[in-house]
Symmetry: D3
Subunit: 70 residues, 6 copies
């Protein structure tokens, strides 16, 4: 199986907190070499990012989809 | 400034491809120790993740928000 | 009213589970003829999808917006 | 592989339109029996959905992740 | 029609830029009295928001769904 | 710090409701002049928005990211 998304990080489960409807799972990152971000070209112009610039990459937890190998 | 999201990865810009409306920015990951995922408790039950399990964490590029320090 | 999104599935409510902050609603699908997906062109190249290929379409429950006719 | 999301629709590729940064893929839906939605409990109270109510389920194309079996 | 989301802002179209696959639409905001945000309780604890605190609310353009009245 | 997203609304915290895993925070909007939306060009064609048209902008609460100035 291959998901149509380039950002694939490998992690190991650290904790699972089950709530009534939603659950929070924490992972230790094993590997994460490269990440891609898509933003509007206007935001890209405004941010004016250049090769080598250091940034924070913020990802809401609800947008992280764990896929288990079987 | 502090964003209300725990998943903060630090990366450096590797390339910027500007399109007509959207742009793709690639980053080399500098640090990414821990990641959190929120899924429905039903999905968590189905996935049956246990401490130490290795998973892939898939994140669509449109959900990665770069924040530049100034 | 017309939403600016092409993916409109019609469903009937099967169950409602109300949690403290978030609620989970399940629907039986009545009709869902066509679905569109937008991914990066890089991911599309990597997936190499051709007409007729069969795929799974995964959608997190938090990205499904119910709209009630009145 | 098992994704941590319950909404799995099976579809076949109908067309692929590659743009400069993003691509649009259309699918004919083969099967889609049940869908889950997560909304705030406040919105659920406001919508006041009852078993059997018919609704439209709107999903932005950028939130549909194709996964290819290999 | 009533969407299952509390954040409904009213705006007027200011400009439309059509790209090959994605389009960018800008709106002047006519009314936006109250907004709701859902984050993990861990992030909420970390942010430590108190009544009256002023914050920036950041929303990626791909998460704004225009709905046209007819 | 500058986030790579043009939609920045300023708000003040009105209430915080902490749930087991997710929390709901409500804000009074202080300023929100302009908002951008990105949709597929096909949806844009279908919506047929023209300068001056009035629309509702719907945003799920999970897509609103509060950022605290310090």
């Amino acid at each position: 199986m291959r998901p149509g998304a380039r950002n694939k990080i490998v992690g190991t489960v650290k904790s699972v907190k089950k709530g009534d409807v939603m659950s929070l799972i924490k992972f230790d990152v094993v590997s994460a070499d490269e990440l891609s971000s898509v933003i509007t070209t206007e935001s890209a112009d405004e941010l004016d990012l250049k090769e080598g610039d250091q940034v924070e990459l913020v990802i809401k937890a609800i947008h992280v989809l764990p896929i288990k190998r079987e």
